[in-house]
């Protein structure tokens, strides 16, 4: 560990030199592969999950998608690289990037799809019935009722996708791309274990930082009525099961000054 610390704190590793990108550049590259994959996966899985959850049909699609989790990431990457790359022209990173992104996208789809469809599908039938009954259209029910109620699950699906993809995006280095994975593969090749450990720490820190960020987003966007984080002072009077169990956040009390 102390060697990893030395490696991480060595200023030379933080600057680009002689065609070797420094740590910031590799972190940025790593983020590009990861977030690109999560963005594509979300663009596919979110609408699909909303549709499956809202119509309560097509649950088999979720099952199949979950099956994707069983694919060995590394093996799939090699296979795609061998099969696809020869057909991709150009001199850039294309031949390496496309198989890598496909693998990462496939990995990110199941948690987003599964959580979105389950979150929307599990909205209480009484709430759906009442929403339709007071005159919402199916679209209004989805966007104004089901999505806000399912939001914690939807965001946690994205969170687990991000965690998994950021950790796995290290494989990009195996096919010759950059990213934090470089330190793992190069370190292994050079038997430089402080570099390898340093790279592993970087991946872990990056994953945790992104998760913390998304947790904050979740906290800002999810209604207190759904999360149960009621403001202090209003919770005591609650007779409902959710209210009684949770004291409100102290900072909210200071801000609002709600009398008990």
């Amino acid at each position: 560990m102390s060697n990893a610390f030395t490696w991480l704190t060595d200023p030379a590793n933080w600057h680009d030199q002689l065609g070797t990108p420094g740590i910031p550049a590799q972190v940025v590259a790593h983020l590009e592969y990861s977030l690109g994959a999560v963005a594509i996966a979300t663009a596919v899985a979110l609408p699909l999950g909303l549709l499956i959850g809202h119509t309560r049909r097509g649950a088999s699609i979720v099952t199949v998608a979950n099956g994707l989790r069983a694919l060995p990431t590394f093996g799939l990457l090699i296979l795609l690289y061998v099969v696809i790359s020869p057909h991709i022209g150009g001199r850039g990173d294309g031949p390496y990037l496309v198989p890598t992104e496909i693998v990462l996208v496939l990995m990110a789809i199941p948690p987003v799809l599964g959580n979105t469809s389950a979150g929307v599908g599990n909205v209480s039938p009484a709430v759906r019935d009442a929403s339709l009954g007071i005159g919402m259209t199916g679209r209004e029910v989805l966007l104004r009722v089901e999505v806000p109620i399912a939001l914690p699950l939807i965001i946690s699906g994205v969170r687990s996708a991000v965690l998994q993809v950021v950790a796995t995006a290290t494989v990009a280095a195996y096919v010759g791309l950059g990213g934090i994975g470089r330190y793992l593969y190069d370190g292994l090749a050079a038997r430089d274990f402080s570099q390898m450990t340093g790279g592993a720490v970087l991946v872990a820190v990056l994953a945790l930082a992104l998760d913390t960020l998304l947790a904050a987003v979740q906290r800002w966007t999810v209604s207190p009525g759904v999360s149960g984080r009621f403001k202090a002072g209003t919770a005591q009077a609650a007779l409902g099961p959710a209210g009684a169990a949770r004291p409100g956040a102290p900072e909210a009390a200071a801000e609002e000054g709600v009398p008990a």
Binding site: A126, G133, G135, I149, G225, G228
Partner: protein, 379 residues
């Protein structure tokens, strides 16, 4: 007016939920659909706002076919209250109530102001406005549900067992509030319940349905209790019909009450002892409102020198001149002294009445009741 014209609902597989239903729910009145489970009462209700589409037949509101407008538009003009409130958990109470006006394009400020008014109307304090549904009790949630249904001031309200998931004490409060609201608002209401007592209490017109989705009887509550058309309705309407039918005749203001000697809270027990009649004396407060009975035994065994609330027997119910004969008879029967306490509309003591006198009054005024009791024997 809501009109069912030979409405049938048949599900794939042949189950007939509602069979050739013809029914009119008059404007400004409460029509209660009541029957055992599986009789199609909820299905019938839900065909009014097209939550269920009829297989054949038509449902008209004020003569207009409901199938002529889109379901969403139709429903925005009809209040809808369901058993488990169905409030939106992610929105505050005030925003829940404002849901329909906002769908209709009313601006947020106006919609919220109207919500706050309605909150008060359904008997909830303004502090509730910013709470979320999970912070409310079941009874409070139902009140918010009613407020939400009223928000766009629809002429028609559909209520699907709105009070059946709350405890009996809260249910009675909600029923009384319902009657108070309805007497102010005069909505055209269709109300579904499986509870015949609720039907009789709330309905201006009661439609009893039987399994298979047909009407067994449509009648006013006293008529239903007095003249059930067949054994099914008689059985469903249940026991104590004669007694319950007394609930529909009001106590005349000329009710023959006897003067009752009273003692006030805080007066001396010596005074109370002097005023005992047949072993009991009625205790009232400073405003002459009855508080309870004091027995000879507790007058003699009391440790204090004064009449205190904890020595009182609270067993008797109170009757009022504007109340029903049922309350009057119950007051007479439940009173520990055998003398039923009668008050005026403001809760002040008028006098007392014996069970025998109450029955005589029933014989003079309660022809429906006697009729009901007579029919009840044969059914």
């Amino acid at each position: 007016m809501i009109t069912f014209e030979s409405v049938t609902k048949r599900y794939p597989g042949g189950t007939v939920a509602v069979d050739q239903l013809d029914l009119e729910a008059p404007t400004g009145k409460t029509t209660v659909l009541v029957g055992p489970s599986g009789c199609g009462k909820t299905t019938s209700l839900r065909m009014i706002n097209r939550m269920i589409e009829p297989t054949s037949g038509r449902v008209l509101i004020d003569g207009a076919d409901t199938s002529a407008v889109s379901p969403a538009r139709l429903r925005r003009g009809i209040g809808y209250v369901i058993q488990h409130s169905g409030l939106l958990p992610h929105r505050t109470v005030v925003d829940n109530i404002a849901t329909v006006p906002l769908l209709l394009g009313v601006d947020r400020r106006t919609a919220r102001a109207r919500s706050l008014e309605l909150l008060e109307r359904v008997g909830l304090p303004q502090e509730m406005a910013k709470r979320y549904p999970a912070q409310l009790s079941g009874g409070q949630q139902q009140r918010v549900g009613v407020a939400r249904a009223l928000a766009a001031d629809p002429p028609v309200m559909l209520m699907d067992e709105p009070f059946s998931a709350v405890d009996p004490v809260v249910r009675e409060q909600l029923q009384n509030e319902f009657l108070r609201l309805q007497s102010d608002l005069g909505k055209t209401i269709v109300f579904v319940t499986h509870d015949i007592d609720e039907a009789v209490k709330l309905g201006d017109q009661i439609a009893v349905m039987r399994v298979g989705g047909t009407l067994a009887q449509v009648a006013g509550p006293s008529e239903l209790l007095a003249r059930p058309v067949d054994a099914f309705v008689a059985g469903f309407v249940g026991r104590d019909r004669g007694y319950r039918a007394l609930g529909f005749t009001t106590v005349p203001s000329s009710v023959p009450v006897e003067r009752e000697e009273t003692v006030r809270l805080g007066e001396s027990l010596t005074t109370a002892r002097d005023r005992l009649a047949h072993g009991w004396v009625l205790v009232v407060d400073a405003e002459d409102r009855p508080q309870g009975w004091l027995s000879e035994h507790s007058v003699r065994s009391a440790r204090d020198d004064l009449v205190t609330p904890d020595a009182l027997n609270l067993g008797g119910t109170l009757a009022t001149v504007r109340g029903s004969l049922r309350e009057l008879l119950d007051a007479a029967l439940s009173s520990p002294s055998g003398r039923g306490v009668v008050t005026d509309g403001q809760g002040h003591l008028l006098g007392t009445i014996s069970p025998a006198a109450a029955v005589r009054l029933i014989e003079e005024h309660g022809s429906t009741a006697a009729d009901a009791a007579g029919r009840g024997e044969t059914a």
